[in-house]
Protein backbone atom coordinates (compact mmCIF):
# COMPACT_ATOMS: atom_id res chain seq x y z
CA UNK A 1 0.00 0.00 0.00
CA UNK A 2 1.48 3.34 -0.97
CA UNK A 3 -0.97 5.64 0.77
CA UNK A 4 -3.51 5.13 3.47
CA UNK A 5 -5.69 7.63 5.24
CA UNK A 6 -7.61 6.68 8.33
CA UNK A 7 -10.55 8.79 9.41
CA UNK A 8 -9.17 12.10 8.18
CA UNK A 9 -11.15 15.19 9.18
CA UNK A 10 -10.71 18.82 8.22
CA UNK A 11 -13.05 21.65 9.00
CA UNK A 12 -13.24 25.31 8.09
CA UNK A 13 -15.09 27.16 10.79
CA UNK A 14 -18.34 25.32 11.15
CA UNK A 15 -18.00 23.51 7.85
CA UNK A 16 -16.83 19.91 7.82
CA UNK A 17 -15.01 19.98 4.51
CA UNK A 18 -13.58 16.49 4.98
CA UNK A 19 -15.20 14.12 7.42
CA UNK A 20 -13.78 10.76 8.49
CA UNK A 21 -12.39 9.79 5.13
CA UNK A 22 -10.39 6.58 4.86
CA UNK A 23 -8.72 5.57 1.62
CA UNK A 24 -6.28 2.91 0.59
CA UNK A 25 -4.21 3.35 -2.50
CA UNK A 26 -2.15 0.41 -3.70
CA UNK A 27 1.23 0.74 -5.31
CA UNK A 28 0.89 1.21 -9.07
CA UNK A 29 -2.75 2.17 -8.88
CA UNK A 30 -4.49 5.09 -10.51
CA UNK A 31 -6.99 6.13 -7.95
CA UNK A 32 -9.85 8.45 -8.90
CA UNK A 33 -11.53 10.89 -6.58
CA UNK A 34 -14.82 12.35 -7.74
CA UNK A 35 -17.70 14.20 -6.22
CA UNK A 36 -19.83 17.30 -6.62
CA UNK A 37 -18.36 20.79 -6.48
CA UNK A 38 -17.43 21.63 -2.94
CA UNK A 39 -17.40 18.01 -1.81
CA UNK A 40 -13.98 18.36 -0.25
CA UNK A 41 -11.78 16.68 -2.83
CA UNK A 42 -9.24 19.45 -3.04
CA UNK A 43 -9.26 19.81 0.70
CA UNK A 44 -8.54 16.11 1.11
CA UNK A 45 -5.59 16.38 -1.26
CA UNK A 46 -4.38 19.36 0.70
CA UNK A 47 -4.44 17.52 3.99
CA UNK A 48 -2.58 14.61 2.47
CA UNK A 49 0.05 16.83 0.86
CA UNK A 50 0.69 18.83 4.00
CA UNK A 51 -0.88 22.17 3.07
CA UNK A 52 -2.92 21.99 6.24
CA UNK A 53 -2.77 19.24 8.82
CA UNK A 54 -5.93 17.24 9.45
CA UNK A 55 -7.77 17.82 12.71
CA UNK A 56 -8.26 14.13 13.24
CA UNK A 57 -7.15 10.97 11.56
CA UNK A 58 -3.86 9.72 10.21
CA UNK A 59 -2.12 9.65 6.88
CA UNK A 60 0.40 6.91 6.07
CA UNK A 61 2.73 6.93 3.12
CA UNK A 62 4.45 3.61 2.45
CA UNK A 63 3.63 2.63 5.99
CA UNK A 64 5.21 5.75 7.46
CA UNK A 65 3.04 8.15 9.44
CA UNK A 66 3.16 11.51 7.65
CA UNK A 67 0.22 13.19 9.35
CA UNK A 68 0.86 16.89 9.70
CA UNK A 69 4.27 16.85 8.01
CA UNK A 70 5.15 20.04 6.16
CA UNK A 71 4.55 20.13 2.43
CA UNK A 72 8.23 20.22 1.51
CA UNK A 73 9.02 17.24 3.73
CA UNK A 74 6.21 15.33 2.12
CA UNK A 75 7.58 16.18 -1.28
CA UNK A 76 10.99 14.91 -0.24
CA UNK A 77 9.69 11.49 0.79
CA UNK A 78 8.22 11.03 -2.66
CA UNK A 79 4.79 12.58 -2.97
CA UNK A 80 4.20 15.38 -5.47
CA UNK A 81 1.09 17.22 -6.51
CA UNK A 82 -0.50 19.67 -8.89
CA UNK A 83 -2.98 22.34 -7.92
CA UNK A 84 -6.53 22.90 -9.06
CA UNK A 85 -5.83 26.61 -9.11
CA UNK A 86 -2.42 26.61 -10.72
CA UNK A 87 0.63 27.76 -8.83
CA UNK A 88 3.69 28.63 -10.84
CA UNK A 89 6.63 30.99 -10.64
CA UNK A 90 5.49 33.62 -13.10
CA UNK A 91 8.82 35.44 -13.47
CA UNK A 92 10.81 32.30 -14.20
CA UNK A 93 11.07 30.52 -17.49
CA UNK A 94 9.29 27.24 -18.00
CA UNK A 95 12.56 25.37 -17.66
CA UNK A 96 13.46 27.15 -14.43
CA UNK A 97 10.05 26.34 -13.04
CA UNK A 98 10.58 22.67 -13.60
CA UNK A 99 14.14 22.90 -12.34
CA UNK A 100 12.82 24.01 -8.99
CA UNK A 101 11.24 20.58 -8.80
CA UNK A 102 14.33 18.72 -9.92
CA UNK A 103 16.67 20.64 -7.62
CA UNK A 104 14.65 20.74 -4.45
CA UNK A 105 12.13 17.99 -4.93
CA UNK A 106 14.06 15.04 -3.64
CA UNK A 107 16.32 14.70 -0.69
CA UNK A 108 19.30 13.78 -2.82
CA UNK A 109 19.58 16.31 -5.62
CA UNK A 110 19.80 14.98 -9.15
CA UNK A 111 23.20 15.59 -10.73
CA UNK A 112 21.96 17.36 -13.86
CA UNK A 113 18.83 19.21 -12.78
CA UNK A 114 18.52 21.16 -16.04
CA UNK A 115 18.68 18.01 -18.12
CA UNK A 116 16.15 16.30 -15.93
CA UNK A 117 13.81 19.28 -16.19
CA UNK A 118 14.04 19.36 -19.97
CA UNK A 119 13.38 15.63 -20.08
CA UNK A 120 10.26 16.03 -18.03
CA UNK A 121 8.98 18.87 -20.19
CA UNK A 122 9.44 16.71 -23.24
CA UNK A 123 7.80 13.82 -21.46
CA UNK A 124 4.63 15.81 -20.82
CA UNK A 125 4.87 17.13 -24.38
CA UNK A 126 5.05 20.74 -23.34
CA UNK A 127 4.01 22.65 -26.46
CA UNK A 128 6.02 25.86 -26.21
CA UNK A 129 9.67 26.86 -25.99
CA UNK A 130 11.28 26.12 -22.64
CA UNK A 131 12.41 29.75 -22.39
CA UNK A 132 8.88 31.12 -22.27
CA UNK A 133 8.09 32.96 -19.07
CA UNK A 134 5.55 31.07 -17.03
CA UNK A 135 3.64 34.31 -16.57
CA UNK A 136 2.75 34.24 -20.24
CA UNK A 137 1.13 30.82 -20.23
CA UNK A 138 -2.57 30.08 -20.16
CA UNK A 139 -4.16 27.80 -17.63
CA UNK A 140 -3.93 24.67 -19.67
CA UNK A 141 -0.26 25.19 -20.39
CA UNK A 142 0.35 25.96 -16.74
CA UNK A 143 -1.25 22.68 -15.77
CA UNK A 144 1.18 20.89 -18.05
CA UNK A 145 3.99 22.84 -16.49
CA UNK A 146 2.90 21.86 -13.01
CA UNK A 147 2.74 18.26 -14.07
CA UNK A 148 6.30 18.39 -15.35
CA UNK A 149 7.47 20.10 -12.19
CA UNK A 150 5.80 17.48 -10.04
CA UNK A 151 7.32 14.66 -12.07
CA UNK A 152 10.75 16.26 -11.83
CA UNK A 153 10.76 15.63 -8.10
CA UNK A 154 11.10 11.90 -8.73
CA UNK A 155 7.91 11.18 -6.91
CA UNK A 156 6.44 7.78 -6.15
CA UNK A 157 2.94 9.11 -5.74
CA UNK A 158 1.38 11.91 -7.75
CA UNK A 159 -1.68 13.86 -6.69
CA UNK A 160 -3.49 15.46 -9.63
CA UNK A 161 -6.25 18.02 -9.12
CA UNK A 162 -8.35 18.51 -12.24
CA UNK A 163 -5.55 18.36 -14.76
CA UNK A 164 -8.01 17.73 -17.56
CA UNK A 165 -10.35 20.66 -17.00
CA UNK A 166 -10.84 22.61 -20.19
CA UNK A 167 -9.36 20.05 -22.56
CA UNK A 168 -11.06 19.11 -25.77
CA UNK A 169 -11.87 15.44 -26.18
CA UNK A 170 -9.01 15.14 -28.62
CA UNK A 171 -6.54 16.52 -26.13
CA UNK A 172 -8.06 14.31 -23.52
CA UNK A 173 -6.91 11.26 -25.41
CA UNK A 174 -3.31 12.48 -25.32
CA UNK A 175 -3.62 13.11 -21.60
CA UNK A 176 -5.01 9.64 -21.02
CA UNK A 177 -1.97 8.17 -22.72
CA UNK A 178 0.34 10.38 -20.73
CA UNK A 179 -1.18 9.41 -17.41
CA UNK A 180 -0.87 5.74 -18.26
CA UNK A 181 2.76 6.33 -19.19
CA UNK A 182 3.46 7.96 -15.84
CA UNK A 183 1.98 5.02 -14.02
CA UNK A 184 3.95 2.59 -16.16
CA UNK A 185 7.12 4.41 -15.11
CA UNK A 186 6.32 3.38 -11.56
CA UNK A 187 4.44 6.32 -10.12
CA UNK A 188 1.11 5.76 -8.46
CA UNK A 189 -1.53 8.42 -9.01
CA UNK A 190 -4.45 9.89 -7.15
CA UNK A 191 -6.53 12.09 -9.40
CA UNK A 192 -9.43 14.41 -8.82
CA UNK A 193 -11.46 14.95 -11.95
CA UNK A 194 -14.89 15.89 -13.17
CA UNK A 195 -14.44 14.50 -16.66
CA UNK A 196 -15.95 11.07 -16.19
CA UNK A 197 -14.59 9.92 -19.49
CA UNK A 198 -11.03 10.24 -18.30
CA UNK A 199 -11.83 8.73 -14.93
CA UNK A 200 -13.51 5.73 -16.52
CA UNK A 201 -10.65 5.25 -18.94
CA UNK A 202 -7.68 5.30 -16.62
CA UNK A 203 -8.72 4.65 -13.03
CA UNK A 204 -8.34 1.33 -11.33
CA UNK A 205 -10.41 2.38 -8.40
CA UNK A 206 -12.67 5.33 -7.60
CA UNK A 207 -13.87 6.92 -4.40
CA UNK A 208 -16.80 9.31 -4.36
CA UNK A 209 -16.90 12.19 -1.91
CA UNK A 210 -20.03 14.07 -1.06
CA UNK A 211 -20.30 16.77 1.62
CA UNK A 212 -16.94 15.69 2.92
CA UNK A 213 -17.81 12.06 3.33
CA UNK A 214 -16.90 9.07 1.26
CA UNK A 215 -20.17 7.69 -0.06
CA UNK A 216 -18.89 5.03 -2.39
CA UNK A 217 -15.76 3.27 -3.51
CA UNK A 218 -14.98 0.58 -6.04
CA UNK A 219 -14.06 -0.04 -9.63
CA UNK A 220 -15.23 2.58 -12.10
CA UNK A 221 -18.00 0.40 -13.39
CA UNK A 222 -19.32 -0.45 -9.93
CA UNK A 223 -19.25 3.18 -8.96
CA UNK A 224 -21.22 4.67 -11.76
CA UNK A 225 -23.86 2.04 -11.33
CA UNK A 226 -24.20 2.94 -7.69
CA UNK A 227 -27.56 4.62 -7.14
CA UNK A 228 -26.19 7.01 -4.52
CA UNK A 229 -23.50 8.23 -6.86
CA UNK A 230 -25.97 8.71 -9.65
CA UNK A 231 -28.13 10.90 -7.47
CA UNK A 232 -25.43 12.86 -5.76
CA UNK A 233 -23.05 13.43 -8.58
CA UNK A 234 -23.75 12.29 -12.06
CA UNK A 235 -27.36 13.26 -12.34
CA UNK A 236 -29.80 10.84 -13.82
CA UNK A 237 -29.52 11.99 -17.36
CA UNK A 238 -25.76 11.83 -17.56
CA UNK A 239 -24.13 10.59 -20.73
CA UNK A 240 -20.41 10.05 -20.87
Amino acid sequence: MILETIGVCKRFGGLKAVNEVSLQVEEGQIYGLIGPNGAGKTTLLNTIAGVHPPEAGKVFFKGQDITGLRADKICHIGMARTFQIVHSFPNMSVLENVMVGSVFGSRRPVDKPAKKAAEMLNFVEFPLSHDTLAGNLNTIQLKRLELARALATNCKLLLLDEVAAGLTPGELIDLTILIRKIRDNGTSIIMVEHLMKLIMDVCDKIAVLCFGEKIAEGTPQETIENQKVLEAYLGTKYVL
Binding site: V51, R70, D72, F83, G101, G105, G135, A150
Partner: protein, 346 residues
Protein backbone atom coordinates in the same frame (compact mmCIF):
# COMPACT_ATOMS: atom_id res chain seq x y z
CA UNK B 1 47.12 32.63 -29.34
CA UNK B 2 44.03 30.50 -29.33
CA UNK B 3 45.05 29.07 -26.02
CA UNK B 4 45.33 32.50 -24.55
CA UNK B 5 41.90 33.35 -25.81
CA UNK B 6 40.44 30.20 -24.33
CA UNK B 7 42.15 30.98 -21.08
CA UNK B 8 40.69 34.46 -21.13
CA UNK B 9 37.22 33.13 -21.79
CA UNK B 10 37.57 30.69 -18.94
CA UNK B 11 38.73 33.47 -16.66
CA UNK B 12 35.76 35.59 -17.59
CA UNK B 13 33.38 32.76 -16.95
CA UNK B 14 34.98 32.23 -13.57
CA UNK B 15 34.59 35.88 -12.69
CA UNK B 16 31.04 35.88 -13.91
CA UNK B 17 30.28 33.33 -11.24
CA UNK B 18 30.96 36.11 -8.79
CA UNK B 19 28.76 38.46 -10.74
CA UNK B 20 31.71 40.31 -12.24
CA UNK B 21 31.25 41.37 -15.81
CA UNK B 22 33.75 43.41 -17.84
CA UNK B 23 31.58 46.45 -17.44
CA UNK B 24 31.23 45.97 -13.71
CA UNK B 25 34.93 45.41 -13.25
CA UNK B 26 35.75 48.56 -15.13
CA UNK B 27 33.48 50.40 -12.74
CA UNK B 28 35.14 48.82 -9.73
CA UNK B 29 38.56 49.70 -11.04
CA UNK B 30 37.49 53.29 -11.50
CA UNK B 31 36.22 53.37 -7.94
CA UNK B 32 39.41 51.79 -6.65
CA UNK B 33 41.72 54.42 -8.10
CA UNK B 34 39.41 57.37 -7.79
CA UNK B 35 40.55 58.73 -4.42
CA UNK B 36 44.17 58.28 -5.41
CA UNK B 37 43.68 60.37 -8.51
CA UNK B 38 41.35 62.97 -7.16
CA UNK B 39 42.41 63.75 -3.63
CA UNK B 40 39.48 65.66 -2.32
CA UNK B 41 38.06 64.98 1.11
CA UNK B 42 34.62 66.24 0.14
CA UNK B 43 34.29 63.87 -2.79
CA UNK B 44 35.77 61.03 -0.81
CA UNK B 45 33.23 61.50 1.96
CA UNK B 46 30.46 61.55 -0.59
CA UNK B 47 31.66 58.37 -2.17
CA UNK B 48 31.83 56.72 1.23
CA UNK B 49 28.17 57.54 1.79
CA UNK B 50 27.29 56.44 -1.71
CA UNK B 51 29.07 53.11 -1.34
CA UNK B 52 27.60 52.45 2.07
CA UNK B 53 24.04 53.22 1.03
CA UNK B 54 24.60 51.33 -2.19
CA UNK B 55 25.74 48.28 -0.26
CA UNK B 56 22.70 48.58 1.97
CA UNK B 57 20.46 48.85 -1.06
CA UNK B 58 21.98 45.69 -2.48
CA UNK B 59 21.41 43.76 0.72
CA UNK B 60 17.89 45.16 0.89
CA UNK B 61 17.23 43.95 -2.63
CA UNK B 62 18.41 40.53 -1.56
CA UNK B 63 15.15 40.25 0.37
CA UNK B 64 12.82 42.55 -1.52
CA UNK B 65 13.82 41.60 -5.03
CA UNK B 66 14.00 37.87 -4.41
CA UNK B 67 11.72 36.61 -1.69
CA UNK B 68 9.47 39.56 -2.39
CA UNK B 69 9.13 40.95 1.11
CA UNK B 70 9.98 44.59 1.53
CA UNK B 71 11.74 44.87 4.81
CA UNK B 72 10.31 48.23 5.88
CA UNK B 73 12.30 47.99 9.03
CA UNK B 74 15.63 47.56 7.35
CA UNK B 75 17.21 50.70 8.77
CA UNK B 76 16.57 49.40 12.28
CA UNK B 77 18.94 46.51 11.66
CA UNK B 78 21.49 48.90 10.34
CA UNK B 79 20.98 50.90 13.54
CA UNK B 80 21.27 47.82 15.71
CA UNK B 81 24.63 47.09 14.15
CA UNK B 82 25.66 50.67 14.76
CA UNK B 83 24.61 50.59 18.40
CA UNK B 84 26.14 47.18 19.07
CA UNK B 85 29.49 48.21 17.75
CA UNK B 86 29.32 51.61 19.39
CA UNK B 87 28.32 50.30 22.81
CA UNK B 88 30.98 47.61 22.73
CA UNK B 89 33.56 50.26 21.98
CA UNK B 90 32.27 52.81 24.46
CA UNK B 91 31.43 50.54 27.38
CA UNK B 92 33.89 47.71 26.99
CA UNK B 93 36.59 49.24 24.84
CA UNK B 94 36.26 46.56 22.18
CA UNK B 95 38.10 47.30 18.94
CA UNK B 96 35.80 48.82 16.32
CA UNK B 97 36.78 46.11 13.84
CA UNK B 98 35.55 43.40 16.16
CA UNK B 99 32.60 45.59 17.02
CA UNK B 100 31.49 45.76 13.41
CA UNK B 101 31.55 41.98 13.24
CA UNK B 102 29.62 41.76 16.47
CA UNK B 103 27.14 44.24 15.07
CA UNK B 104 26.67 41.97 12.08
CA UNK B 105 26.16 38.95 14.28
CA UNK B 106 23.65 40.65 16.53
CA UNK B 107 21.69 42.20 13.68
CA UNK B 108 21.77 38.83 11.94
CA UNK B 109 20.31 37.17 15.02
CA UNK B 110 17.54 39.73 15.17
CA UNK B 111 16.99 39.21 11.45
CA UNK B 112 16.62 35.53 12.16
CA UNK B 113 13.89 36.36 14.66
CA UNK B 114 12.24 38.65 12.16
CA UNK B 115 12.30 35.83 9.63
CA UNK B 116 10.34 33.70 12.06
CA UNK B 117 7.83 36.44 12.73
CA UNK B 118 7.05 36.95 9.07
CA UNK B 119 6.78 33.27 8.23
CA UNK B 120 3.03 33.16 8.00
CA UNK B 121 2.66 36.54 6.38
CA UNK B 122 2.83 37.70 2.80
CA UNK B 123 2.76 40.90 0.84
CA UNK B 124 2.06 44.13 2.62
CA UNK B 125 1.25 42.26 5.85
CA UNK B 126 4.77 40.90 6.00
CA UNK B 127 6.18 44.33 5.25
CA UNK B 128 4.13 45.90 7.98
CA UNK B 129 5.29 43.25 10.42
CA UNK B 130 8.90 44.13 9.67
CA UNK B 131 7.99 47.76 10.05
CA UNK B 132 6.33 47.31 13.42
CA UNK B 133 9.24 45.26 14.71
CA UNK B 134 11.58 48.02 13.61
CA UNK B 135 9.47 50.70 15.23
CA UNK B 136 9.58 48.70 18.43
CA UNK B 137 13.36 48.36 18.15
CA UNK B 138 13.56 52.08 17.62
CA UNK B 139 11.41 52.79 20.64
CA UNK B 140 13.53 50.50 22.81
CA UNK B 141 16.72 52.20 21.68
CA UNK B 142 15.26 55.62 22.24
CA UNK B 143 13.94 54.80 25.69
CA UNK B 144 16.66 52.69 27.16
CA UNK B 145 18.44 55.88 28.11
CA UNK B 146 20.71 54.27 30.70
CA UNK B 147 22.29 52.16 27.99
CA UNK B 148 22.07 54.19 24.83
CA UNK B 149 21.68 57.76 26.11
CA UNK B 150 18.38 57.73 24.22
CA UNK B 151 17.64 60.44 21.74
CA UNK B 152 20.57 62.49 22.98
CA UNK B 153 22.87 60.27 20.97
CA UNK B 154 26.03 58.34 21.65
CA UNK B 155 29.51 59.48 20.71
CA UNK B 156 31.56 56.73 19.15
CA UNK B 157 35.33 56.44 18.80
CA UNK B 158 36.53 56.57 15.21
CA UNK B 159 38.16 53.80 13.18
CA UNK B 160 41.05 56.00 12.13
CA UNK B 161 42.38 58.91 14.10
CA UNK B 162 42.92 61.33 11.25
CA UNK B 163 40.85 63.93 9.53
CA UNK B 164 41.51 62.16 6.25
CA UNK B 165 38.89 59.83 4.92
CA UNK B 166 40.86 57.55 2.68
CA UNK B 167 41.01 54.77 5.26
CA UNK B 168 37.26 54.77 5.58
CA UNK B 169 36.93 54.82 1.83
CA UNK B 170 38.90 51.65 1.27
CA UNK B 171 37.22 49.95 4.20
CA UNK B 172 33.77 50.55 2.78
CA UNK B 173 35.00 49.81 -0.72
CA UNK B 174 36.12 46.35 0.32
CA UNK B 175 32.92 45.81 2.29
CA UNK B 176 30.83 46.79 -0.71
CA UNK B 177 32.66 44.42 -3.02
CA UNK B 178 32.37 41.61 -0.51
CA UNK B 179 28.66 42.31 -0.16
CA UNK B 180 28.11 42.32 -3.89
CA UNK B 181 30.15 39.24 -4.64
CA UNK B 182 28.75 37.37 -1.65
CA UNK B 183 25.16 38.11 -2.53
CA UNK B 184 25.75 37.35 -6.19
CA UNK B 185 27.31 33.98 -5.43
CA UNK B 186 24.33 33.05 -3.29
CA UNK B 187 21.84 34.29 -5.85
CA UNK B 188 23.54 32.41 -8.66
CA UNK B 189 23.43 29.17 -6.68
CA UNK B 190 20.39 27.00 -6.10
CA UNK B 191 19.69 28.94 -2.96
CA UNK B 192 18.91 31.93 -5.14
CA UNK B 193 16.46 29.85 -7.11
CA UNK B 194 14.77 28.87 -3.88
CA UNK B 195 14.50 32.55 -2.90
CA UNK B 196 12.97 33.48 -6.21
CA UNK B 197 10.56 30.58 -6.04
CA UNK B 198 9.43 31.58 -2.56
CA UNK B 199 9.03 35.14 -3.71
CA UNK B 200 6.78 34.20 -6.58
CA UNK B 201 4.59 31.47 -5.13
CA UNK B 202 5.02 30.08 -1.66
CA UNK B 203 2.61 27.20 -2.13
CA UNK B 204 4.26 26.03 -5.30
CA UNK B 205 7.68 26.41 -3.73
CA UNK B 206 6.68 24.29 -0.79
CA UNK B 207 5.00 21.68 -2.93
CA UNK B 208 8.19 21.42 -4.98
CA UNK B 209 10.13 20.55 -1.88
CA UNK B 210 11.56 23.92 -0.86
CA UNK B 211 11.85 24.37 2.87
CA UNK B 212 10.29 27.81 2.96
CA UNK B 213 11.06 28.39 6.62
CA UNK B 214 14.71 27.63 6.21
CA UNK B 215 15.29 29.79 3.17
CA UNK B 216 13.19 32.69 4.31
CA UNK B 217 15.04 32.83 7.59
CA UNK B 218 18.37 32.38 5.89
CA UNK B 219 17.59 35.29 3.64
CA UNK B 220 16.54 37.60 6.45
CA UNK B 221 19.54 36.64 8.53
CA UNK B 222 22.04 37.35 5.78
CA UNK B 223 20.44 40.58 4.70
CA UNK B 224 20.15 41.90 8.25
CA UNK B 225 23.67 40.78 9.16
CA UNK B 226 25.08 42.80 6.28
CA UNK B 227 23.08 45.78 7.47
CA UNK B 228 24.57 45.23 10.91
CA UNK B 229 28.17 45.26 9.73
CA UNK B 230 27.53 48.34 7.64
CA UNK B 231 25.85 49.94 10.63
CA UNK B 232 28.96 49.32 12.69
CA UNK B 233 31.02 50.98 10.01
CA UNK B 234 28.66 53.91 9.92
CA UNK B 235 28.82 54.44 13.67
CA UNK B 236 32.60 54.69 13.66
CA UNK B 237 32.60 56.77 10.53
CA UNK B 238 30.26 59.53 11.71
CA UNK B 239 31.34 59.31 15.33
CA UNK B 240 27.89 59.87 16.77
CA UNK B 241 24.69 57.89 16.52
CA UNK B 242 21.16 58.55 17.63
CA UNK B 243 18.10 56.34 17.45
CA UNK B 244 17.12 58.21 14.31
CA UNK B 245 19.49 55.97 12.36
CA UNK B 246 16.70 53.43 12.74
CA UNK B 247 14.10 55.73 11.25
CA UNK B 248 11.84 54.58 8.50
CA UNK B 249 13.10 57.50 6.46
CA UNK B 250 16.42 55.71 6.17
CA UNK B 251 14.70 52.56 5.03
CA UNK B 252 12.93 54.64 2.45
CA UNK B 253 16.21 56.09 1.28
CA UNK B 254 17.65 52.61 0.88
CA UNK B 255 14.52 51.31 -0.74
CA UNK B 256 14.42 54.15 -3.22
CA UNK B 257 17.97 53.35 -4.25
CA UNK B 258 17.19 49.71 -4.77
CA UNK B 259 14.04 50.51 -6.73
CA UNK B 260 15.54 53.23 -8.81
CA UNK B 261 18.39 50.85 -9.49
CA UNK B 262 16.08 48.05 -10.47
CA UNK B 263 14.44 45.40 -8.38
CA UNK B 264 15.88 41.91 -8.32
CA UNK B 265 19.21 42.90 -9.83
CA UNK B 266 21.40 43.40 -6.73
CA UNK B 267 23.74 45.73 -8.63
CA UNK B 268 21.04 48.28 -9.35
CA UNK B 269 21.09 49.67 -5.83
CA UNK B 270 24.81 50.31 -5.91
CA UNK B 271 24.68 52.11 -9.23
CA UNK B 272 21.73 54.18 -8.09
CA UNK B 273 23.64 55.03 -4.92
CA UNK B 274 26.68 56.18 -6.83
CA UNK B 275 24.54 58.41 -9.00
CA UNK B 276 21.93 59.69 -6.61
CA UNK B 277 23.86 60.34 -3.39
CA UNK B 278 26.36 62.74 -4.96
CA UNK B 279 23.54 64.19 -7.04
CA UNK B 280 21.49 64.98 -3.97
CA UNK B 281 24.52 66.45 -2.25
CA UNK B 282 25.12 68.65 -5.23
CA UNK B 283 21.64 70.07 -4.86
CA UNK B 284 21.97 70.64 -1.14
CA UNK B 285 22.05 74.41 -1.48
CA UNK B 286 18.47 74.36 -2.63
CA UNK B 287 17.21 73.36 0.84
CA UNK B 288 13.62 72.15 0.75
CA UNK B 289 13.52 72.57 -2.99
CA UNK B 290 16.07 69.79 -3.13
CA UNK B 291 13.80 67.38 -1.33
CA UNK B 292 10.97 68.55 -3.48
CA UNK B 293 13.02 67.64 -6.52
CA UNK B 294 13.84 64.33 -4.92
CA UNK B 295 10.16 63.61 -4.44
CA UNK B 296 9.27 64.66 -7.95
CA UNK B 297 12.10 62.54 -9.27
CA UNK B 298 10.74 59.56 -7.42
CA UNK B 299 7.29 60.15 -8.83
CA UNK B 300 8.66 60.49 -12.34
CA UNK B 301 10.73 57.34 -12.05
CA UNK B 302 7.78 55.39 -10.77
CA UNK B 303 5.51 56.56 -13.56
CA UNK B 304 7.91 56.44 -16.48
CA UNK B 305 10.60 53.92 -15.57
CA UNK B 306 9.11 51.47 -13.10
CA UNK B 307 11.90 49.01 -13.87
CA UNK B 308 14.49 51.49 -12.74
CA UNK B 309 17.96 52.01 -14.10
CA UNK B 310 18.33 48.31 -14.79
CA UNK B 311 15.29 48.53 -17.02
CA UNK B 312 16.83 51.43 -18.89
CA UNK B 313 20.13 49.63 -19.08
CA UNK B 314 18.49 46.56 -20.54
CA UNK B 315 16.50 48.58 -22.99
CA UNK B 316 19.67 50.29 -24.07
CA UNK B 317 21.63 47.09 -24.54
CA UNK B 318 18.73 45.29 -26.10
CA UNK B 319 18.77 48.01 -28.67
CA UNK B 320 22.46 47.45 -29.19
CA UNK B 321 21.80 43.75 -29.34
CA UNK B 322 24.40 43.32 -26.65
CA UNK B 323 24.35 42.11 -23.12
CA UNK B 324 27.12 42.71 -20.69
CA UNK B 325 25.36 41.24 -17.71
CA UNK B 326 24.17 37.74 -17.32
CA UNK B 327 20.69 36.76 -18.32
CA UNK B 328 19.54 35.95 -14.85
CA UNK B 329 20.05 39.51 -13.85
CA UNK B 330 17.72 40.90 -16.40
CA UNK B 331 14.57 42.51 -15.29
CA UNK B 332 12.07 40.22 -16.84
CA UNK B 333 9.29 41.61 -18.89
CA UNK B 334 5.75 40.51 -19.12
CA UNK B 335 5.24 37.96 -16.46
CA UNK B 336 5.49 40.45 -13.66
CA UNK B 337 1.94 41.47 -14.21
CA UNK B 338 0.77 38.26 -12.69
CA UNK B 339 3.25 38.53 -9.88
CA UNK B 340 1.93 41.96 -9.13
CA UNK B 341 -1.61 40.82 -8.97
CA UNK B 342 -0.81 37.85 -6.81
CA UNK B 343 0.93 40.14 -4.39
CA UNK B 344 -2.04 42.45 -4.29
CA UNK B 345 -4.57 39.87 -3.33
CA UNK B 346 -2.52 38.46 -0.54
Amino acid sequence: MEKAERGFRKGMRFLRKFGLTPFGMAMLFALAVFPLVIQDEVITRLLISALMLGALAMAFDFTAGFININNFGYAAFWGVGAYTSALLAVKLGVSPWLGMLAGGVFAGLLGLGLGFLTLRLAGIFASCMTWFVALAMFAVTANWVELTRGTSGLSVPPLFHTTENIGYYYTIFVMTILTYVGLRVIINSHIGTAFRAIGQDIQAAQASGINVTKYKIMNFTISCAIAGVLGGFYAHFVGIITPTVMNTSHTVEIMVLSYVGGRGTIWGGLVAGLIMIPGMEYLKGLLELRLLIYGVLMIMVMIFFPNGLAGLYNKFFNLLGESFFEKGQRVKKGGEERGGRAEMKN
